[in-house]
Symmetry: D3
Subunit: 314 residues, 6 copies
């Protein structure tokens, strides 16, 4: 029976299905080609080398493919790796859907949808409500499976919606504690703030930046989408509600040097920026501490100015 990667013990011989998460073609000193691989399933990841790769092998074994693998788990220079005995592509009859091998958000797609839907109900402003619905309708399918980033934070299936749902919880608390906040604007801005990532990124498997992601970026992508949606709904481009919603998206990175075309100049925009920083920071630190021993410092976290975080002994 096939195993999960996390279940393997050292020196165990096994069969399993796994996703080829990363594939690099390399050449040995003696000129032979081999594949330097990262295998993944929902339980974890492990590396391995496929020696003497033929042209056909290189053609077959591309990142994003699912393989059936026979091998042995062993130690090499302090790390675990797979010594491969045999490897072939999974067939149509076997569990070959790449998405089912990717790590995903702690909440199911249904749970995420329910929470987003609940917040949409609370957007008691016709303009914001209609724009949000229109864009969720257009991009909803991708919204619930895309990651929130290529690496960094929420870089797993459903990460984008999960990040959004976490921020909505914080947004509700802030609305409860402080006076004078336009809750519909805050919720609408929160739901849309990163939605442009469904155009910026290629998807949840072997995530990369699209050309639109590189040349335009998710901030401007979503800004233009709101304008289009507003036009389809018959709203004038100088409508103050539309301008405010656009401003939420345009300013949510907070600082010009982080790619925000505008700095926050609405109370709700400042709040959106701060809860984004708070949620993303916690996720990055949790992820780094998961790979850290008590009493040690984590690796440096790129998205937090290369700081290391301490994992206490108790």
């Amino acid at each position: 029976m096939t195993k999960l990667i996390q279940e393997l013990t050292n020196n165990e011989t096994f069969d399993l299905f796994a996703l080829l998460k990363d594939v690099k073609v390399r050449t040995t000193k003696t000129g032979k080609q081999f594949l330097d691989l990262v295998f993944a399933d929902r339980s974890g990841e492990i590396g391995g080398k496929f020696w003497d790769a033929s042209a056909q092998d290189i053609e077959n074994f591309q990142a994003g493919k699912v393989v059936f693998l026979k091998g042995k788990k062993e130690t090499y220079m302090g790390n675990f790796q797979i010594k491969i005995s045999a490897m072939r592509l999974a067939t149509e009859e076997e569990p070959h859907d790449a998405l089912s091998y990717v790590q995903r958000a702690p909440l199911s797609k249904e749970q995420l949808e329910e929470q987003i839907t609940q917040s949409v109900f609370e957007i008691e402003d016709a303009t914001y409500n209609r724009i949000v619905r229109a864009l969720l309708q257009k991009y909803g399918n991708k919204f619930y499976i895309y990651p929130a980033a290529k690496s960094n934070h929420h870089d797993f299936e459903g990460g984008l919606a999960y990040h959004t749902v976490s921020m909505l919880a914080l947004a509700h608390d802030v609305v409860r504690y402080y006076d004078g906040i336009d809750a519909p604007l805050l919720y609408a801005g929160t739901i849309l703030h990163d939605l442009g990532k469904v155009v910026e990124l290629s998807g949840p498997i072997s995530t990369s930046y699209t050309l639109a992601g590189n040349l335009i970026g998710h901030v401007s992508i979503m800004d233009a989408e709101i304008v289009e949606a507003a036009e389809h709904l018959g709203l004038h481009q100088d409508d103050e509600q539309v301008l405010k919603l656009r401003h939420m998206i345009l300013s949510h990175h907070g600082e010009l040097e982080y790619g925000a075309p505008e700095r926050p100049e609405l109370l709700e925009a400042e709040i959106l920026h701060n809860i984004d920083v708070l949620d993303a920071g916690i996720m990055m630190i949790q992820k780094a501490l998961d790979h850290t021993e008590p009493g040690d410092f984590s690796d440096r976290i790129f998205g937090l100015d290369n700081r290391r975080f301490y994992k206490p002994n108790k």
Copy 2:
């Protein structure tokens, strides 16, 4: 009967008691001295000039004193001001307590104390709990009446405790939503993070920086207080709990250039920094928008990089 400043109508003649919030001695072109005054009570503030001030007047009418004032409210260059008919110091029999003329937090001292006390109960770690109790006992009286700043945010009586209570509410939410947070450390750090301001600042009336405030700053003041408290409790200076609590205070400004001797390197320290930014930002923006007409931008807010905020029409 005496009035409140906010109740006066234009061209109304009145009697009232007020605090001299700010006093500047100036000289006219013709060489005569006068006082440029700001009067305040809990309802608001208004300016006025006291002409032909004698040496005795200058001696008497100092900032922080309460006066009985007869005058007329009028307009000068677009602003309201008081035309003073007569002014004298309030007597012992009259309402002469400066503190009763200062704006204060929306919650009473008792409400603030109750909420802080509740959070202290939840600090389920003996080390943090004892240190927090010791320092609240030492500085509690001041803690509940001091402002959180000279100007900027929470610059009113009780502002320090009010800021702390607001942050504790957010801290509880974060603990509820995310795994792996050391709640006692987060609550203890939140309660102590700005407590050093009771040494840094002179008090709630005509607030200024003390010499310790100027030369040491509230961050290092509180850091040393924690060390002293820990010593009195018989804790070793290398105790990991003590080091973590000190780190919370030392890093809560987030960036070295904002006067943090350390950048956050604990999950809880990063959270503390972010909820501090969030609460202070909201308070500064609300205060600025209170003085802004719908459809206008506020004055620039120094504590938010001189940004102006827009007050929407609806």
Copy 3:
């Protein structure tokens, strides 16, 4: 016969028509209101004070109005000013069109249009050509009369189109000298790069920022306009031509800290940014040196990092 402001000699008594370019209501020490005015016509500007202004005067004499003025030119503290004898609003029968008193570009509207049209002909790419035509059709009227800025550079009627025409000349030279440049993309990007200013700014008279200008900015305004135009033309949003043209606009400020959501990542975008800097810089320096005596340094130029420029003796 009426005179132009520039023609007046010191102590000359005159009649003239002028635009009220700037109006400030002030109050004297003794409490009387007066108007602190800046008069302008196409020949230049001069200040003056209108004493004892009645409520009706304040109502009448607003910025943007044209007045008939009797007075005398005199010197006050080293500067020329107008001593006003009489002032009234210009009537419908008199030259009362504010626009005719504003400084304007050295080229006529017709000359500007001709040069822009010529460059549009040279955009030998159907996608770029159609988008540019669509947007010029939508905003052409404003494009030829708007300034390129509120102050700084090209802050005169037609300044926006004049700045664009100057840059097109430089763009043609660059295309001639260097290989591998996509001329249609460069010309299209040049024509559209600042076109969003017709939404960002209020117009050529007493120019101010609109709400869209403040909350969105001309970069994102034009980016969304291109997307809409492309949609109307049936182009897909992932069309590489559309993405490249959007990138030209999004990156033309060059640096994130100058409000560019993207840094230039196309050869043509880098060129566009550089010729924008070159043309704007020359205009700002020429304007500053116009008000500088030979052998002196100009005032500091805000748009050039507060540098002063030297006007040589020869």
Copy 4:
């Protein structure tokens, strides 16, 4: 018959002459020394390893030498390289002049000289004209063969003069379009702005920094040269023309942090800086895109803040 590097096909066996552009002595795991080489001729570059290098080989095969090479072109880890069968130094009778193997400017030395000479004619100011002539006479030989940089932009034989000629073309256009520019000053400054590089750099082959280049830099080198030249011509050091010309050189890097002792404070200095940035930027991007496939991004360009540039599909 010998081949050019660019003409070789994969697996072709060949004879050719090449320059040793870069030579690194390395040791194998088993302790034997070999040479890691880069071969170059005017058509391009290719790497190769010379195994089992004797002390004599190491002595002979130094960077800057020309060799006669027998070998085979093959692929190694995705890159082409030379498998060397035999290698010896070129003899006096063979084409052994290193300079003839270096890439050079698209214009010949004569064409460059002609264009520079033409611009010198147009310097219709005796002071500038005489200083420029004096310095071209002193450094002319090197000026026409030196590169403009060690790497980055115009890093080929004649690159310095080619960069200057390109900038002169742009300078002429600017003079034609804008009023009030001192053309002689602009042309003189353009010709001299980087001339100090003939002292800063070692020459066109295996270019490195000289001690003067490291300790003084080409900006200050040329500044002092102008002073000396002016003195020889009998000009006073406070002569305004001399000061202005020095200022052109001292400020042409634009920003203090890029090593400009002065920021531009002359109209002509600002123009010189901007056309320098424009020409250098285009050259760097063209060079990077030459090594990029359509649809890909280039490597990061150090001289352009590590940006990558996109090479469109069409």
Copy 5:
């Protein structure tokens, strides 16, 4: 008998000679011109106003002139000032030499010369010694009377040489304590580092920047002077000693953003930079504290990043 400014008591009527250190022509509200003056002698400074100034008065009473003054010392808005009864220019028979009214260094010109001369003796390297002697011979007269700055530090007669002498004392200590320092290079660099200020500044009275100061700056001025001096002494421009001495001057501001074309890359250059910072800092702080009451903070010091310094009570 005439008095010194510092000797006057409040309300004292007096005669004295003083330098017009600063003169501003102003106009009263009623249109009359008056002079706003700063009087100075070696004991101190005091302000005063000369009412109803005629055209002849304005012509006569220019900054840098010495006047005979009758008046009364009085208080105005908390500051002392002179009420002028009569004022005329000092005659040739009276003490009319402006320089004798300027504050000067604590050491006499002879003392300064002696100490500089002593250090020159210790420059036991022919190259450095000859260059230093040549430049002191050329500029010695100015060197001993110029200030080291327009304002900031050592802004008094002889300040330039005094600053140099103080730094030489520190330089000698450093040579005594640490190994491997090239003392002749350090002393030569110290003597020459600011000597370019005799060209950059106009002189000790009413100091301003010259055109050379504005366009070239004292760093590049002295760099070129060293090259010229070396050439006159027959030294080659690539002589390592000359390059090192130039590097000392070019790098003494330490950071590119402070106008240093080179960052220090010689041990002696790093030392020179640091003792320059140390000496200038102490002088600026001492000057600021001289005008500060014990227990107060000084005004902000521009040259020290606008920091204020505390003057202790004991």
Copy 6:
């Protein structure tokens, strides 16, 4: 007889005792473990590889241990290394004290103590004197053997005290040359400024940061120690002397971005910062130049903004 590392000649076979300064466990391509070692004694350092390391070897040969070594000095890729014939731990009877193999300050512990003691005598202020004595008594043992840094400057046994003694010499000179310096404050601040490093660092052998070092830092560590010492001496926390001494420590890094919670606001604090920079800079440059050939540039120095320094030919 055993040798010192520095005495070995190439290809010499030898016996010696050495400290294992750095130990890395690595694995060969074929999966065997070996130790990559750095050996050190007071004369210098050299690398070597211990092949086929058993689990026991890895257990025994840890950083900080002293070994007896038989081997041969040889060259590998241009560097010297040890080819190990035999290696075992030194016994109790052999010279096995790690500290005796570490490089140490040029002055003996006794010399350092004498100089510190002398300066303590000169602290003629009871408050400063008592605090300094108390803290030297508490930490004196470590103070005289700790390094001043993990790497960078004074990274040798006794480096902390040696750095302090060097700075005291400079401090005395400054006191001698300038008026108005509080010498006791300057000396006390100098002695204590880096004393917190005895808590921040682990010690002179294989120096690393402690948890307190990472989370608190030596600046805040010493600040709190002063407060405790003052309390034990019965001094009030608002005592101006105590505040000033704390300020010296808190501000000695000079800039917030270098981890100073306060910028210097006392004359003595500015001096302390500057002599710290001066002494540390000289030490870093001397160390770098010791490993540089005349005519070459050193490696980049991290603590000096990655500058390289030139080692002159004479």
